[in-house]
Symmetry: C2
Subunit: 243 residues, 2 copies
């Protein structure tokens, strides 16, 4: 037996699954109760719903009002990352297969894949995969595995094996740190084996980072600078001498 209230909550969730937002007024009409009651229902299920203006939205849709500083911080490197991806996108050729690393930097690259190119894109992060699947001219290949929330990516042996069956023309790698001596490093160790295998298999690899990463050293080393064809930042592409 479900309480009257949980029944309403379920009905609300149903209504929301169809559209993304529902006005309080409509929700009240839909459920046949007062707006006040809907308010209470929503307030009692913060995990499921949230308020935004006078509307109810699924809780996942929005972060619960992070303060202004966060936006500023998010923004400060975003422009640089986007700009770096603009340069990186020039390396994409029609009908080729590209690899897109995880992380926020290369998310922008997806937007910059030319609409008139037919591309196969390989990824292993949820964010990138989601953006890729929205593009009709891109065939998306995902490496599976266990999910790592820290980087929103998957990794595991099977993902590595998938790589063996792929032919990658251009690989775009990102890094959390680029040390002139030591090379490229990232934060999460589970990314290392994927990155390394990609570098070894791809015909050419490019390191795409914003300038704030240069000089940083992070815990997980994955490649010396020399393995990359170029380093691409917001200032453009820096060719590296071949091996």
């Amino acid at each position: 037996m479900v309480s009257r209230k949980t029944a309403r909550v379920i009905q609300l969730a149903d209504a929301l699954s169809g559209r993304r937002v529902l006005h309080l007024r409509d929700a009240a009409a839909l459920l046949g109760v007062s707006e006040m009651t809907v308010r209470r229902d929503v307030a009692d299920n913060p995990g499921q719903f949230a308020f935004l203006g006078g509307h109810i939205v699924p809780a996942g849709e929005i972060e619960p009002d992070a303060p202004y500083e966060l936006a500023r911080e998010a923004d400060s490197h975003a422009a640089a990352k986007r700009e770096a991806c603009v340069h990186a996108a020039r390396r994409i050729r029609p009908d080729e297969t590209i690899f897109i690393d995880c992380g926020t930097t290369l998310e922008y690259l997806v937007d910059l894949i030319p609409e008139n190119y037919s591309i196969t894109a390989v990824c292993y992060s949820l964010n990138v995969a989601e953006k890729l699947t929205r593009k009709s001219n891109v065939r998306t290949v995902m490496l599976g595995g266990v999910y790592h929330p820290s980087s929103a990516s998957f990794s595991g042996n099977s993902g590595l094996e998938t790589l063996d069956s792929l032919g990658i023309n251009v690989a775009f790698l990102s890094a959390a740190g680029v040390d002139p001596g030591r090379g490229a490093t990232c934060v999460h160790f589970h990314e290392v084996s994927v990155k390394q295998k990609v570098i070894s298999l791809a015909r050419e690899s490019h390191l795409v980072v914003d300038l704030s990463k240069i000089g940083k050293l992070k815990p997980a080393f994955f490649a010396p600078i020399g393995v990359f064809r170029s380093i691409i930042t917001e200032e453009g592409e820096t060719q590296l001498p071949g091996l």
Copy 2:
């Protein structure tokens, strides 16, 4: 040369790509202009941004205020599917590994995984994966492969190989048709190999469908009824005689 205005619009888009919503107040502070100006920027780019309450959201996030009737007719089967999943959820035990098939039906099951259970969940569809990764008590394993837009899922040899390394206690399968004689069928052939392998490896498999699927026959056959421990619909679980 970009106008002052388009520069702001780009910056706004960047800020929004980091977080999902941005309060008008914060946007104004971020761009260093008045709220009125931000309002005008947003209003002038209805394709890109929208207002929701006092917040700016990416336009794609929301349908432009569809009328109340829409909510009402949102997926008439949603309630049935959810109800079926309520029954299915009773088969989930703490600390076990479950498999969740693709399709809209089993999306609801994710919401119903008890918060206090520690669960490993295996999936191969983007929708399900996304919902799973939001649950902190669930370890998500994804089978990779090539993306199929029709069912928002991935499939390929490597995904199948991943299954070999997993121990699945309970598998929840969905179907587009259940014919009493022929068995369970679905629409997309690429799903067949995944479903079959899961059924063969899982300790127990359950077929979760709403009643509208009963009696239907779809192009891709994947299992006779007998292989399932039970069929679960909105009316409850129907045990099947063991093999």
